[in-house]
């Protein structure tokens, strides 16, 4: 079983829709949670990161972490065609040894239709 599961999609929504992207994980030691966005033929770029449980908002993007359910989400409000990309969740544990390394989800491909 993979440590991080992410619905691969593809997900297609109309412009202006609210998008919900999700990941589940099995390792209770994970403490740092990130969302990366990857455009076609580009490398991933960091969108948001959170530590432990809770919400974090940045413009149209909101990241949620529920450690009790081992579930994280990224919400995109008023989605735009420019949001069309693959979204990768990533997470890791503490600061020592292999816990420093990130574990990635397989990515969700999102298309926002004009």
């Amino acid at each position: 079983q993979k440590e991080v599961e992410q619905d691969p999609g593809p997900l297609s929504v109309p412009e202006g829709a609210i998008v919900s992207l999700n990941c589940t994980y099995s390792n209770s030691a994970f403490q740092y949670f990130m969302w990366y966005r990857q455009y076609s033929r580009k490398g991933p770029e960091l969108l948001m990161y959170t530590y432990s449980s809770g919400n974090k908002e940045d413009g149209r993007f909101t990241a949620q972490v529920d450690k009790s359910s081992k579930y994280i989400s990224l919400f995109i409000r008023d989605s735009q065609p420019s949001d069309s990309a693959t979204y990768l969740c990533a997470m890791r544990g503490g600061l020592s040894g292999s816990a420093r390394q990130l574990t990635f989800g397989s990515g969700t491909q999102l298309t926002v239709l004009p």
Partner: protein
């Protein structure tokens, strides 16, 4: 704009050839990484380095090798390429873990096709 550069962006070569994928960063980051990315699959760590003359293998077994002679440069080499090496290779770097996040900056990737 990311200050981490990968060359070549695309490479098509025949089986048995030696290839080197270049990665350079201008941010002075100590930690650098190589990931392998296949369609619909998660990124897999194949090599990492925490500083000059320090390299380690990652979670995914790879026949490639790396070197870290200068802080800014982290090339990956395949001595004899095979079709199974066909993949996207992503280089990344970060300054460190003091903030806890280990946020990575990625290059645009090198897409390798071995015929």
């Amino acid at each position: 704009e990311a200050d981490i550069y990968q060359t070549p962006r695309y490479l098509v070569i025949g089986t048995g050839k030696k290839i080197t994928l270049e990665c350079s960063q201008t941010m002075g980051h100590d930690k650098m990484y190589w990931y392998q990315q296949d369609p619909g699959m998660e990124l897999h760590l194949i090599h990492y380095s925490y500083g000059v003359n320090s390299t380690e293998k990652g979670d995914l077994s790879s026949e490639s090798t790396v070197s870290r002679i200068r802080t800014e440069h982290f090339p990956l080499t395949l001595e004899s390429a095979r079709p199974s090496h066909t993949s996207q290779y992503l280089c990344a770097s970060t300054q460190g873990d003091l903030s806890g996040a280990n946020v990575l900056t990625f290059g645009a990737g090198s897409r390798l096709t071995v015929l």
